[in-house]
Amino acid sequence: MALVIQNNNIYASPPVWLDTEGTDEQLGLALELLVAQGANSVLVFACSNNKHSADRLRSLLGACPVPVFGGIFPGIFFEGKCIDRGSLLIGFPFAVQVDVYDDLSRAKLSIENPAWQDGDKVGCAADLMVFVDAMAKTTEAFINTLYETIGGGSHVIGGGAGSIDFIQRPCLFTRAGLLQDAALVVKLPIPMRCAVDHGWEVLDGPYLVTEAKGTRVKTIDYLPAFQVYRDSIERVTGNQFNKNNFFEISKNFPLGIVGINEDIMVRDPIQRIKNELVCVGCVPANTMIYILQGRRKFIVEAAFLAGEQSGLKLQQLSHKPLGMALAFDCISRSLYLGGDFSDELLALSSGVGEGKTIVGVLSIGEITNTARGTINLLNKSIVVGQL
């Protein structure tokens, strides 16, 4: 384990501990050291390949005298390197309020639910970090309810935690231990500014979603959704679908929902069930969609733009920034870029600029606010928040 960032002044640059072993002991030790260094809250990014014990972590986290928050992700990155085992712990000089929303899959996600009426939870205006269990069945409904409750004006960054075997396990760090089927909403006492980009381009379309339910697209232009999707890709790209290669092809051709202002929100079709397409995130009926394609140059450039834009927004504020950038980069972008993913991290670093600490995770779904204020669950995108 190594202390990889340390200035004399915690307020100038938060200390970051990198543990490459991914053990409970190392994580506990890092926690202790960060608290000893004056941290008033600790952000934990851990890899899903780590060997953590929920029981052991419960006692370690419970013993920590300051708020702990974060998640377990398929990968984490720091200083241009992405690893799939180990943990990053960042000690913040300020305390944060961590609100836990548990039992997400069974909770009644409605603004009328008493759980969402708690004034202390939803009452104040603050910029937020949001961590959700990506395997919870109601992740997007949670995000929507969160926006309906707290409203616009907050700058939000976050992502889905979990592992890419898509088995639900405890994946969110709190002082009560590791949680699953839950969400954490972390209120920051200092401002943060975010930017998002994806780099995907229109390949074919537009099409009208004529029947859909939640994340399942049933018909497109009144025809079976998979048939339309398959015909388009086979016709335009020459790829040929067979019984076993759906995801191999689909990861390169996501769907894009077109907004009234021609913004495109990416939806990743990860599964085919009979003639339906199952996406990460909802695709409402009667929406206009395109089939998208990726070009490595533009995908990588998206990381640069997100880093750059978030920095520019932060510069418009009058306060002294912490010099830290947090990135939630979709795991599917890493899969798409393969060995070229280091280029994306380089572009991100270049976009954020020198002298800033960049920590990030490979997430399963990204969360941020749009320019109009709403909070969205995104796919195949990179979200960068600077504070």
Binding site: G151, S154, I260
Partner: protein, 600 residues
């Protein structure tokens, strides 16, 4: 854009607002609706009803921690839009664009976004808002209908409850009890099982109502109801039958009569225990008891009303026994009851046939001079001529005949008083006394009746005295005190009869405007040889002297008793030692004699 088919207004609007936000890339959506004076959304129908536009729903709920519902900027924008009477208006403010659209006859919807909506899109929204207005109308009408139905359902439920329950205790009422009893009777007959009906009457409850007021009485009845519920099974029915009467139906007691009897006795014991626990009302403790009768059914062709009647009769018998028992109904009780009914019928006829006569038992002073007489009822009927008034007066009391008899006694005594006056016999003869029952005291016009009798007969009020027993006084203190004061004002005096047998409070005794205390015969009998009776008599005499009341001893039957009473300081007497009750003509004859002979 989908409006959805939810019939709940808020839900329908919420779905539409969410879809609008998503489709039109909006930051927030707000709906303001016309509401009536109660704040309930309604629609403008040009009927002239006064409507106000009120914030109904915002998605999201707040902005930077401030609720949209309280946003003045938004309210002003909506007011200005309504004033403009246009279908849509647009305001650019703080890098945001606000589009206000009229919802015909229903209100305004506001879209907040960062871009102005294309005019073509705005135009295309017109038919959607018309449809949204129709949906609002449908939802409001539906919700109004639902409210009406709920109110009606509640009213029906309330009426049904009221029809089946007692208002004060919320126990089942007589009607519900009857229904349950009928069902149980059918069930028991069909399955050869037993059930039972317990009839409970609170003892001395009337005294609590009279003395402490109905508020206290009502609280005790409510508490009794709760206690009875707490000691019964869920399948039992506890009902308030009326006044201080409760009935418990035990519907399913198995097929063995002895076992059923055991369950009933166990329940009765629990009822006694429960009722006899002190009632603590605002720091004051009240103790009451109850009398209970029951019947185990079914029996031959007995109907539900027979069962209730029989249990009631058994209760009545238990009450007469003045013991802590629950009596099972026995056919003898009905026979006895029927006899009483026949007795009552004969009593009624007796008034009509003028079969009553007043006898008088003279009252004497220490010098053996007649100073007054107590009127006593005698019934000249071949069937009952040897019957003591102690037998038929209680029957008359039960059947309210006592009121007619009392009136007759009052008028007859006044007539006799007038005769005494006319014959110049009232010089040494001070009082002619009549007894008054508790029921007469409760008559609102009893005082007026006395005045009327005196006026009609022209009898001298100062020679009439009313005797009220201590027990009657205690059970109707307020009426008694009022009556005694009123009588005192017209010269009619009052005596407290059978003193020592009741439990009158000394504090009250002091306030009674009575002129005489009559020592009960039970303390006079063998007073010379019974130290306890002597002590009580001494105490009563001392009490009378202290309260400035005259003392008269009743039931003096021997010289020894008289001597003892004289020694204790009692100055007035009445009893067989001096004279048995005699017809009025005999009294006249006695009064014409200067002095009575001492009886040996």
């Amino acid at each position: 854009m989908a409006i959805g088919n939810d019939l709940k207004l808020i839900e329908m609007l919420r779905i539409f607002m969410r879809v609008s936000m998503s489709r039109l890339d909006l930051s927030s959506v707000h709906v303001f609706l016309f509401c009536d004076s109660a704040g309930v959304p309604t629609f403008a129908d040009f009927s002239g009803k006064s409507l106000v536009v009120k914030h109904c729903l915002s998605i999201p709920r707040q902005y930077l921690g401030a609720p949209w519902a309280e946003c003045l900027m938004l309210q002003t924008m909506v007011a200005q839009h309504l004033e403009s009477k246009s279908l849509s208006s647009t305001v650019a403010l703080n890098n945001k664009t606000y589009h206000c659209f009229s919802l015909p006859a229903h209100g305004v919807i506001v879209f907040e976004g960062i871009y102005e909506l294309d005019p073509v899109i705005q135009k295309s929204l017109d038919p959607i808002f018309k449809k949204l207005s129709l949906s609002c109308y449908a939802c409001i009408a539906h919700e109004s209908l639902l409210k009406e139905m709920a109110a009606r359902h509640l009213a029906e439920k309330t009426i049904a409850h009221q029809a089946a329950h007692d208002e004060l205790t919320q126990l089942a009422n007589r009607r519900k009890l009857t229904e349950r009893l009928e069902e149980s009777l059918v069930h028991c007959r069909h399955y050869q099982k037993y059930g039972a009906l317990l009839f409970i009457d609170l003892n001395q409850f009337k005294s609590i109502n009279d003395v402490m007021g109905h508020d206290v009485g009502d609280k005790i009845l409510q508490e009794v109801a709760q206690r009875l519920l707490s000691i019964t099974r869920s399948k039992d029915t506890v009902a308030r039958f009326g006044g201080d009467e409760f009935v418990i139906l035990l519907p399913d007691l198995g097929r063995n009569r002895e076992e059923a009897e055991l369950i009933v006795c166990g329940t009765a014991a629990r009822i006694h225990d429960a009722v006899e626990v002190t009632f603590d009302l605002t720091g004051v403790g009240y103790n009451i008891s109850c009398s209970m009768g029951y019947e185990i059914f079914p029996n031959l062709d007995e109907s539900y009303s027979d069962i209730i009647k029989n249990a009631d009769l058994a209760m009545y018998e238990a009450k007469a026994m003045r013991q802590r028992v629950a009596l099972a109904y026995h056919p003898d009780m009905s026979e006895k009851h029927n006899t009483r009914l026949a007795y009552a019928s004969d009593l009624k006829a007796a008034i009509k046939n003028n079969e009553f006569e007043l006898y008088y038992q003279p009252q004497f002073n220490r010098a053996h001079e007649i100073i007054g007489a107590e009127a006593l009822l005698r019934w000249h009927n071949p069937k009952y001529q040897f019957e003591s008034p102690a037998v038929y007066i209680p029957i008359a009391e039960d059947s309210d005949l006592i009121l007619d008899i009392g009136d007759w006694v009052l008028n007859e005594a006044c007539k006799h008083l007038k005769v005494l006056q006319a014959q110049g016999l009232l010089e040494g003869f001070k009082k002619l006394s009549i007894n008054v029952s508790g029921k007469q005291l409760t008559q609102q016009d009893f005082f007026a009746r006395i005045c009327q009798a005196l006026a009609v007969t022209d009898a001298p009020p100062q020679n009439l005295a009313i005797e009220i027993t201590e027990n009657v006084l205690v059970s109707g203190i307020n009426q008694a005190m009022t009556l005694m004061s009123d009588l005192q004002a017209i010269g009619v005096e009052c005596s407290i009869d059978d003193f020592g047998t009741g439990y009158s409070s000394l504090a009250y005794l002091k306030r009674f405007p009575a002129h005489m205390i009559k020592i009960d015969r039970s303390f006079v009998r063998d007073i010379h040889s019974d130290a306890e009776s002597r002590s009580i008599a001494r105490m009563i005499i001392a009490l009378g002297n202290n309260l400035d009341m005259e003392i008269l001893a009743e039931g003096v039957e021997s010289r020894e008793e008289l001597a003892c009473l004289q020694e204790l300081g009692c100055q007035q007497y009445q009893g067989y030692y001096f004279s048995r009750p005699v017809p009025f003509t005999n009294l006249l004859a006695m009064l014409h004699q200067p002095q009575v002979e001492e009886v040996e």
